[in-house]
């Protein structure tokens, strides 16, 4: 299945096996789950959340400043 990750306004298509979770998506992107929050649509979701084909998952980065 294909889902879309949105990072800092940029969208990226990612192919994952059916039944994958947010954690699998982050793993595929090489993103440490500790460094982001994730939102589907307009709802904060946990990294254990199952994904559906066509999902758009926003990665809200935790690291900022200097």
């Amino acid at each position: 299945m294909r889902v879309h990750a949105i990072r800092q306004g940029k969208q990226e298509a990612v192919d994952l096996p059916k039944g994958s979770t947010v954690k699998d998506l982050l793993g595929k992107l090489g993103v440490n789950p500790e460094t982001v929050l994730t939102a589907r649509g307009e709802r904060i979701i946990l990294e254990t959340a199952p994904l559906q084909a066509g999902d758009r998952i926003e990665l809200i980065r935790v690291i900022s400043g200097g």
Binding site: L37, I44, A49
Partner: protein, 352 residues
């Protein structure tokens, strides 16, 4: 981004009076029965929106009470960059103390002069102060130190040292001029754990001994230092981001493009460890706190007035004078000597 965050905040809150739907995303609900939006892995506990916010606020309140960070009659200057940490800090302090007639807040932002970065964060800082009705002062490197950071770094390399020294100098000076009795900074658990490890990696035990919820040097008071407090010292960066999103606090998520050196390496190392072993950052800071009495017993240079600018320093000449030599002629607040220098500069300019 701001409107997106507002939408996330609205969506995270169930409609008033509505039955809370079971969130299929959550492996287990919050202890109150509502759907979880966050899991504190080191506690093994899931939190819904309202329990998460209450829990974070309770932790900050506990730190303030336990370490007596805020006392009756305090005027608290809050170092406000416009990022999520300092913005959440100002929001929380306002929430706790706005109704206390004996406690007042003033926000102080430092404009280092970093093109394409600081202007974004300052806009968020101004927006938050307007929203809360908090007095806001902005001091700049150009006015206070003689040059912007961008300009200074044309002939210098270690950006974070120049920036950190200048920022601490100006924040302390501005807080003192604002007649603040405390200077609150938004250092979070991640910052503290990183600083502990960096000081050990550099073998800088004297600097390590000055760290804490109430920074040791500043706690001495007098000597021109405004006591520096860190109410967010036990809150992870990720939780502060979530709190800012859920509460709709305006903040900038921009990252300074000068950041380099040891800190980003230590930061990534700690993130990796935290992911594998939840609770690592707490362990680092708590272990350090147990060592602190021994570190503070090490012989150290007493504080004195810098021979050039009069600001507090452990050396004859403070670090700010060493790294920012142009500041003496421009800084209004330094007493006699600086005034004379300013006069000389003006005279030279006139005779050219």
């Amino acid at each position: 981004m701001a409107s997106k965050r507002s939408a996330i905040r609205r969506a995270a809150r169930p409609p008033a009076g509505a039955a809370v739907p079971r969130n299929q995303d959550a492996p287990s609900p919050c202890a109150c029965g509502k759907p979880a939006i966050y899991v504190r892995r080191h506690e093994g506990r899931a939190y819904c929106r309202s329990c998460f916010c209450e829990s974070l606020e309770a932790k900050v309140r506990k730190t303030i009470l336990k370490h007596r960070l805020v006392e009756k009659g305090d005027r608290i200057a809050v170092g406000l960059s416009g990022g999520k940490d300092s913005s959440s800090l100002l929001f929380l302090l306002h929430r706790f103390f706005a109704k206390r007639p004996d406690i007042s807040l003033v926000a102080i932002s430092v404009d280092e002069g970093i093109a394409g970065y600081r202007s974004q964060t300052l806009e968020k800082a101004k927006a938050l102060c307007r929203q809360l009705g908090v007095e806001h002062q902005i001091v700049s490197f150009r006015q206070g130190l003689g040059k912007t950071l961008d300009h200074r770094l044309r002939d210098a390399k270690d950006s974070c040292t120049y920036c950190g020294v200048g920022r601490r100098y100006l924040l302390n000076q501005a807080a003192r001029e604002a007649k603040a009795s405390k200077l609150a900074v938004g250092h979070n658990l991640d910052d503290e754990a990183q600083s502990v490890l960096m000081n050990f990696f550099r073998g800088d035990l004297l600097r390590a001994g000055r760290m804490g919820t109430l920074a040791a040097d500043a706690a001495q008071g007098g000597q021109g230092f405004v006591p520096r407090i860190k109410p967010l010292r036990f809150i992870p960066e990720r939780e502060l981001t979530l709190y800012a999103v859920l509460k709709g606090i305006p903040y900038s998520d921009a990252e300074c493009h000068y950041i380099r050196g040891l800190r980003p390496l230590v930061r990534d190392f700690l993130y990796d460890l935290e992911n594998r072993y939840p609770g690592t950052r707490y362990a680092v800071v708590e272990s350090f706190d147990k060592l602190k009495p021994a570190l503070r017993a090490l012989p150290r240079q007493p504080l004195r007035a810098c021979s050039r600018c009069g600001e507090p320093s452990s050396q004859e000449v403070c670090k700010a004078c060493e790294l920012w030599p142009g500041k003496r002629a421009r800084n209004r607040t330094v007493p006699a000597r600086r005034s004379r220098d300013s006069g000389q500069v003006k005279k030279q300019q006139r005779t050219r």
